[in-house]
Amino acid sequence: MSNTIHDMGGMHGFGPVEPEPPGPVFHEAWEGRLWGMRQAVIRSGKLKLRPGENRGIIETMGNAAYLQTPYFERFLRSTIDRMVAHGLFTQAEIDARTAAIQADPAAPLPRTQDPEAAAAARASLANAPWPKPASGEPVFEAGQAVRARNLNWEGHNRLPRYVRGRTGIVERVNGWYVIEDDHAERLGRNPQPVYTVGFDGREIWGPDAEPNLRVYLELWEGYLEPAELGAEAAFGAETEPAAAPEANS
């Protein structure tokens, strides 16, 4: 759902950040196995998730459960959920297999090999989603003032609450991407351009914002509307070095 706990930018109450020195990539062996099997299945083409499908599942697990479930356990739940939904196995099968392991944790797992498939899985890790072909002209251009729409529809979206209704400046026009939104059909053409939009800290957080702050988000075209730049949204000339370099666009 739209306004669920995953959208946490600007919240208070989570305490200090706890830096950690570089250590093992996976804190628990099962986290690595989960990461590996998920990547291997997706990159084999046997699990085709639409953009945002997995995130949407994690977001609907319930706010209290989200907060109480560690990252890799959320990932485990959503992975099993999607694999069942896409017919790779049934809920009964995974539950029965789990019970069998609980009954005999020392029993070894089956081991199979296909060196060609393993090499392909490894090679595919460099692949990433590629922008879709442009299907028209972008509505906005770099330097233009835009306002993030105040949308509160239920369903998965990628428009954080903390920028809704706020005005910023288009920093960069990026590629065209399929919009990850449960209401894509209400947001115009699809795919659509993604803009990097910069917001002044005071425009988002008000007069007590930390000094000299800009926050940049990537926003699909359907999340934006044209705007006039108000005093709060204008990038503060009084606090900014005269020769401040522009971001790398």
Binding site: H12, G13, T98
Partner: protein
């Protein structure tokens, strides 16, 4: 590996994950060695050393740096690297006037091809909630204090782009080779929570 003897009882999550692996392998959906290959890649190859190579090259080669800032994805491909998770890579440069910080407030987007998997704190609620509203306070928890005149730019990865910070080259490194510079560049400096310190003993 997943079956080794554990001194404490195995967690439910671990048993659930092993059940998942057993099912996927028994049904022939994937083979065990495909899982092994991905795990090994992230443990041994796909980590912050990749990003450090990009940073060190940018420090010694101004033309590479210009290409990197203009089109990150194409520039890192010159080094045989890929951003790996995002379609486009935007490299943002720290200078005397500007300090950049990357975050994903909605989930855990991260330039995995260059930095590997994110550290735990990057995915934790404290960092995700606070990086956009009080980045200076977050930075101070990493020991990074910035004067007010330095502009803080926070990049929230809400779509398919990924970011990496190009930290400032520290003083006292003029005599170092590119390979020596690689060793100085930490994961956290490429997320933007710390600067790269001058090497010990540098003037």
């Amino acid at each position: 590996m997943s079956n080794h003897h554990r001194p404490e009882p195995e967690s439910y999550a671990s048993m659930r994950a092993r059940a998942l692996e057993a099912l996927l392998v028994e049904k022939g959906i994937i083979t065990t060695d495909s899982i092994d290959a991905v795990v090994q890649a992230y443990e041994d190859d796909i980590g912050p050393r990749n990003g450090a190579r990009v940073v060190a090259r940018a420090w010694v080669d101004p033309q590479f740096k210009a290409r990197l800032l203009a089109d990150g994805r194409a520039a890192v491909a010159e080094l045989g690297l890929a951003s790996g998770q995002g379609a486009e890579l935007l490299v943002v440069e720290n200078t005397a006037d500007t300090h950049n910080l990357i975050v994903c407030t909605l989930c855990s987007c991260y330039p995995a091809g260059l930095l590997g998997l994110p550290p735990k704190w990057y995915k934790d609620f404290a960092y995700r909630s606070r990086a956009v509203i009080e980045p200076r306070s977050v930075l101070s928890e990493f020991g990074t204090e910035l004067p007010d005149q330095v502009q803080v730019r926070v990049w929230d990865s809400t779509a398919e782009l990924r970011y990496m910070v190009l930290p400032e080259r520290p003083a006292g490194t003029d005599g170092l080779s590119e390979d020596e510079l690689v060793e100085l560049v930490s994961r956290d400096s490429m997320i933007g929570v710390v600067k790269v310190p001058s090497p010990a003993g540098a003037a």
